[in-house]
Amino acid sequence: MLTRQIIPYHSCRVTYDCQETGSKQTDLFRSTHSWRKEGPRYDSVLVQGQQRSSVFFARVLGLFSLSHHDKTYGLAILQPFIRKHRNKVTGYIELEEVSVEWYELCFIESIIRAVHILPPTPKNHRFIVQDLVDGDAYLRFIGIN
């Protein structure tokens, strides 16, 4: 187990059906400790939950692939966010960070798309999901309240 070979990756390209136009859209998200030599960058993604209707927001801490019986599987280390209700005043979806020790492993196939999440500010200690970056994000998150 300990000597099993894996290949770490620093970015990932995900293609999804855009809910706005029905066409294929491509997102590129990164998970690297040194982004253009300017420090770490760990992007956030939307992950399919086990139930069909459930989705999760998570930060990607690491990406790697490992082989088993001549097949290669991509795995991701995720740090899930706890979803709070939409802010009554601003209307944005708010998230709370959990401790890094509650990370999850998942197959990269369950990642739906990349999400733009704003970090907390001194005034607001919660993360904010930017659901208006494009039509697809708007339609996907419209049911979340």
Partner: protein
Amino acid sequence: MHSLAHLVDGIKRRGPTLNYSTDRGEALHPQNKKYWGRSNRQESSSKQVSYAFCCLGFDFTLILIKMLHMATESEVIQKLRYQVDNYDEQQGLLQGSEEFSKMASDSYQHILLCSPNTNQTTISAYNVSIHREHGITGFIESLSSFLKRNNLESDLHPYNVGLSLRCSHLYADKTDHPLSLMPSHL
């Protein structure tokens, strides 16, 4: 403010501004009156608005964010409406193009890992590196239980202690957590 946007066009069309009046015509007054009717009929100042909201217990910046949110939302909706209205046209254009045939063929890969590390590494070395980066502990154990759950385990090791759903207490519904089984339907 908005009328400034038409200034250049206006000058180009009508010539130097000395020759005519730059006031807004009376035809535009009803519109202004409508806005005035909705206001508090005071000289507007952001300080006043801010004070009013503070009295109600709101944070002014939050109100601004909300206004921004509403404005962006209406923009997104407009875009969506445009997409819906012009759907047929675009489909007609698309069907001729190569992109459409590429889209129609279902052989695309949903997700693709990019920019690999130049050399392979072992799980124990990776464990050390992610512990250094994120402070993650117990990675090897959780990886092996994850692999076991998905029947990807090739060798026996001392950590086969059955599956543990690490974060199940975080979610309201105990059975609901990120999809970790083989996602065959995706």
